[in-house]
Amino acid sequence: MNVIETTNLHKTYEGAVPVKAVNGVSLQIEAGEFTAIVGPSGSGKTTLLNIIGGLDRPTEGEVIVGGQDISKLSNNQLIDFRLHNIGFVFQAYNLIPVLTARENVEFVMLLQKRSRAEREARSQALLEAVGLGDRMDNRPTKMSGGQQQRVAVARALAPKPKFVLADEPTANLDSHSTANLLDIMANLNRQEGITFVFSTHDQRVIDRARRVITLEDGVVVSDIRREENPVPEA
């Protein structure tokens, strides 16, 4: 079953010289995929990710997420759609610095108006799943980059999204933290069936992906599927 489906997606940034960031991308991503969108800087991978995530709108084409054409939603509907359907992991972690790890994870569930008991139980379970059971009451400033990004993964999973979009999630991490984070996400993908879509040019991420979509100049130039995870877990 397709979780994400784009049809002839175009995105042009108007200006003195219009820039075609995405140029006719059509792709389908199924539930449970562990997909990396790769390409050089300026290839359009982040733009594509933003459009799939409902953060940006295509100039042309359709984006169907979970059977719904999100390009037709209003801004307010998009905010609500993102809240209930998409988990985000950002390159710079983007945790709320004044909240503890647990509060950061709970926050999105609070926006979803989940009960206190559910929020507490799920935030604890998720933080334990990412190996931060003993750091739940720490604020981000007291955590390493790797730990912060693991909290970000827990936060992305908290609202029970249809898929998680991760934009360069390992760009600021050292190799140990990267391996650790990838293990966690790979396990969640394999065991929980959570769909992950990365935008990355980190070879370590590309090596762990089971599908690699390569963009160049806003066009898909290759789409490779691998049945098995080619790199052993760290």
């Binding site: 933003n50 995530g53 953060l55 940006d56 307010n76 905010i79 609500d80 993102r82 809240l83 209930h84 985000f88 950002f90 710079a92 983007n94 709320i96 610095p97 004044v98 909240l99 509060e103 709970e106 926050f107 999105v108 609070l110 926006l111 979803q112 936060r155 609202p159």
Partner: protein
Amino acid sequence: MLTLIAWRNIWRSPTRSLVVIVAVALGLWAGLFLSAFSIGLSEQRARDQLETMVSHVQVHHPDFKGERDINNFIPDGPDLLTQVQALPDVVGATGRSLAFGMIASARKTGGVMINGIMPETEAVVTKLDQKLVEGTYFDGVSRNPILISQRTAEAHKLGLRKKVVLTLKDAEGEMVSKAFRIAGIYKSFNSQYDEANVFVLSEDLQDMLGLPGELHEIALLGPNKEEAGIIKTEVSALAPEALVEDWREISPELRLLADTMDQMMYIFIGIIVLALAFGIINTMLMAVLERTHELGMLMSVGMNKFRIFAMIILETLFMAMIGVPFGLFAAWGMVSWMGQPGNGIDMSAFSQGLEEFGMSSVVYPELDPNYYWQVMLIVAVAAVLSAIYPAIKALKLNPVEAVRAH
């Protein structure tokens, strides 16, 4: 959790927040104290004027006040005075005979208002006995005692027991003169009043006027100036033919002062709050711009605009309101302490100028307790209004650009 985030956000930049908090506290303290000082000044002036000169309610013949014709005395004045004195709300009432005349000494002659008074009741209504700086309150002089002001005494180079001659027109229009001996010299806090008034016994003046027992003015005091209207109604019922006026009608400048002082207070506070509001706007704009990245993330993960708006409003409100109790408490403490007898602000360096305006030289700040709550509300409203612009700036952020911002 929005409340929690808003509260914790304040302390992300403690120095910056503390500047706003201290500014709010100091601004309120200064504004409230300035208001209390101004109110104290005007209330004191009103009280001084009313309780020592104007009184709360006055009764005259309807035609007396225009030309001050001495034949326009209050019909059955002494009876009315007795009835007025018996009213339960009346603290003190006195009757006066009044006439314009000349005071002549060996040195010079001048025009004065001659007040024929009843010493005992006059002391209750105007505290004239307490204004004496020399001599006695009509004692020690067996015939025709007179009280003159210190200013008049200096102008005429007069002293106690010295003789002055009062000249006036009697009820028949004939000029009459009589010698008086100075029993006492008074000094009020209003130099113009002092220059214009002398006091003799009512029967002495009535004798000169040829109007035995007749009164031109009944002046009375109630428990406070606010209840003057009630007393006026009661007295009007007793004397429907007479002209009964409360202090607002007798002294329009005092009414104007009382009416405008409330507005002045709000203008004081308004100016201070306006200045604070710009400080708050600046601080919150900085906070929003610094957190562009974070706000972008919040929008990305599904925090709607209403919540972002509410978070910034709450944050601003918290920051502004933290300083409020400190400012209010400091102002309240200072006003309470300085408002007590003996602790007022001594303005004696400006006493001459103040006397020209009928004010005494020690000012006791005072402020209606309700005013503190109103000011708190004004600051809260100002904080919310100040937050709107930064909040709108936050709402205009594009989540994609905001998340990318660094």
